[in-house]
């Protein structure tokens, strides 16, 4: 950069200050908090020790992990099927469908929990209807339990999986399918040996995002079950913002553990998206295929759309 343009760097100062103050300082404070003694100065691993020896917190971690894994797996399977389906429609209909799913992915958190309470809560419309019709299969269902939570989590995972996955289906070219068919492969064989392996990086990458999304989800569970269900995010919330007694250090230690799990998931996503870009790069650089250009942009958008349950 030329010397006379050095002053342009001043434009970075407010940005650096804000990011330091509200992104890095809190993270650092959380890290130091998790290894400092409660109410005294000094350094200790007692909080981690306490967590790993407490059945209560271990249960919270286990619950969170299980719910994240289940909802991500269901989300990815449904998302994969629907993403394939959506690429089979004309662009006009496809864009409509995508807009609808994008819109519903905004419908998370408190309003979503509320909608499910209306539908399936104790006095929910369907709950009462099923009771009246005498459908006993559903009488064991409880929205405020594990199955209920998984159901609601899946709701916000599916649109996200769909939006993140559908662009990679355009990486599977029709010529390959035709070639495979000419060589005598059945549809199933084509997908098993060509299609799915091509999609694998995208699938694992999306799984990473879905997992992180479910691990960090707080609003939905909080609005649905309050403090009653033992989830990691909920425990952290109540330890820090304090319904009972504030134990910020213990909360910090739990938060560090939660951040570690989501960080790993995001790293997985990053690794996988690099690999999937290598796969599709040759296709995207082909100028004859106009769609591929908007595909790249759309993929960026989907990640950008973000997750805020």
């Amino acid at each position: 950069m030329k010397a006379r343009n050095r002053w342009m760097l001043l434009g970075l100062v407010p940005f650096a200050l804000m990011v330091l103050a509200f992104q890095f300082a809190p993270l650092l404070s959380m890290l130091t908090g998790s290894i400092s003694k409660s109410g005294a100065s000094g350094f200790t691993f007692a909080h981690y020790d306490k967590i790993f020896h407490s059945a209560y917190y271990l249960k919270a971690i286990k619950n969170s992990l299980l719910i994240a894994v289940y909802s991500s797996l269901i989300g990815i399977i449904v998302g994969l099927l629907c993403a394939y389906s959506i690429t089979r429609f004309t662009p006009r209909i496809r864009d409509r469908l995508l807009m609808l799913s994008n819109m519903t992915s905004n419908f998370a958190g408190v309003p979503l929990a509320f909608a499910y309470i209306i539908l399936l809560g104790n006095n929910g419309v369907f709950t009462l209807l099923f009771k009246q019709w005498g459908w006993d299969i559903f009488s064991g269902f409880n929205l405020y339990s594990w199955t209920g939570l998984v159901l609601v989590y899946v709701y916000f995972q599916v649109p996200l999986a769909l939006l993140l996955l559908y662009p990679s289906f355009y990486g599977i070219r029709d010529q390959w399918r035709e070639a495979a068919a000419l060589l005598g492969a059945s549809r199933w064989q084509f997908w098993r040996t060509v299609g799915l392996p091509m999609l694998t990086p995208a699938i694992f990458g999306t799984l990473g995002i879905l997992f992180a999304n479910a691990m960090g989800a707080y609003a939905t569970a909080y609005a649905l079950v309050g403090g009653n269900y033992n989830l990691l995010a909920i425990r952290i919330g109540s330890l820090v913002a304090g319904d009972v007694v504030n134990q910020p250090e213990l909360g910090s230690a739990l938060a560090v553990l939660l951040a570690l799990s989501t960080l790993l998931a995001v790293v997985l996503n990053h690794k996988m998206s690099k690999r999937s870009q290598q796969f599709t790069a040759s296709y995207a650089s082909n100028p004859n295929l106009k769609r591929s250009r908007s595909r790249g942009r759309r993929q960026g958008d989907a990640v950008q759309e973000g997750v805020n349950p």
């Binding site: 419908f107 309003p111 209306i118 919330g237």
Partner: protein, 267 residues
């Protein structure tokens, strides 16, 4: 690639998906207008009472106002800080983009609960004691919208080829500052508006940080909705519906703008 008629399997699958995704919305909508709704598929009688009550509720209007001005202040701040910063990084310091990309994915790696823990610890004691005030929330909101702002501004800068524009302007004798204000800003404006609207709808739906950082002191629309869920289901429905209609309008505008921009770029 695209068949003129999609097969029945795909249609059924999409139909099921749409039913699944829209059913909760529809239920909330109906509940907001229902007078009596028990043991029937559709409500037995309708009423506008809940909507009326919602607008009479002073706490709702206050929460709406609080949400609006908090979002507006945060986004104005974000724009003021991000526009020059992203400009400098994209145009002069492309090497930093790796760092920025890391920063952009941080919100995924650091969920709201975790961020709130750190923020509370940092700002509830010590020299800057701003816990429970709007300041801490605005700071937190800044971080929440950072990825959207960065991506939006950066993409627009790249689309209008900011570097070439600047070089041309400099060749013609304009100072860098002048070039930024009179050439770059007007050109990237549509993209900036899109990221602004997107950020706005994200912030409007923010609950975790708001509730944990300032929940007891400041009521945004989400916090208010949370408190109302336990009290009156119908009223909460009406609120949820109006919130959602707002988001709907936003995303429609977003899509229209996005399409318009794409068309202009392709031309």
């Amino acid at each position: 690639m695209i068949k003129s008629r999609s097969s029945w399997t795909h249609r059924t699958l999409m139909l099921l998906l749409m039913i699944y995704l829209l059913l909760p919305l529809l239920a909330t909508f109906l509940y907001g207008f229902a007078k009596e709704w028990q043991t029937t598929v559709l409500p037995e009688s309708w009423t506008l009472e809940w909507i009326r009550e919602m607008f009479k509720d002073i706490r709702f209007l206050e929460a709406l106002w609080t949400s609006l001005y908090l979002c507006l202040i945060s986004i104005a701040l974000s724009l003021a800080v991000m526009l020059p910063a992203v400009f400098v990084i994209t145009v002069y310091l492309p090497k930093w983009e790796t760092f920025m990309k890391g920063l952009v994915v941080l919100p995924y790696a650091v969920p709201g609960v975790v961020a709130a823990v750190g923020l509370i610890r940092t700002y509830s004691s010590g020299p800057i004691n701003i816990a429970g005030t709007a300041y801490i929330l605005i700071g937190a909101y800044f971080v929440v919208v950072l990825p959207y702002m960065y991506q939006g501004i950066r993409n627009s800068l790249l689309t209008v080829s900011a570097v070439e524009l600047l070089n041309a302007a400099e060749l013609l004798g304009a100072s860098r500052m002048r070039a930024f204000v009179t050439i770059i800003l007007p050109n990237i404006w549509p993209g900036v508006i899109i990221s602004t609207l997107l950020s706005f709808s994200v912030l409007f739906g923010e609950f975790v940080l708001t509730n944990m950082l300032v929940g007891g002191h400041i009521q945004t629309i989400q916090v208010y909705l949370y408190q109302r869920v336990g009290e009156s289901g119908h009223l909460a429905s009406a609120i949820a519906i109006s919130y959602f209609l707002f988001i709907l309008v936003m995303s429609t505008i977003l899509m229209k703008l996005g399409k318009k921009m794409n068309r202009e770029v392709e031309r």
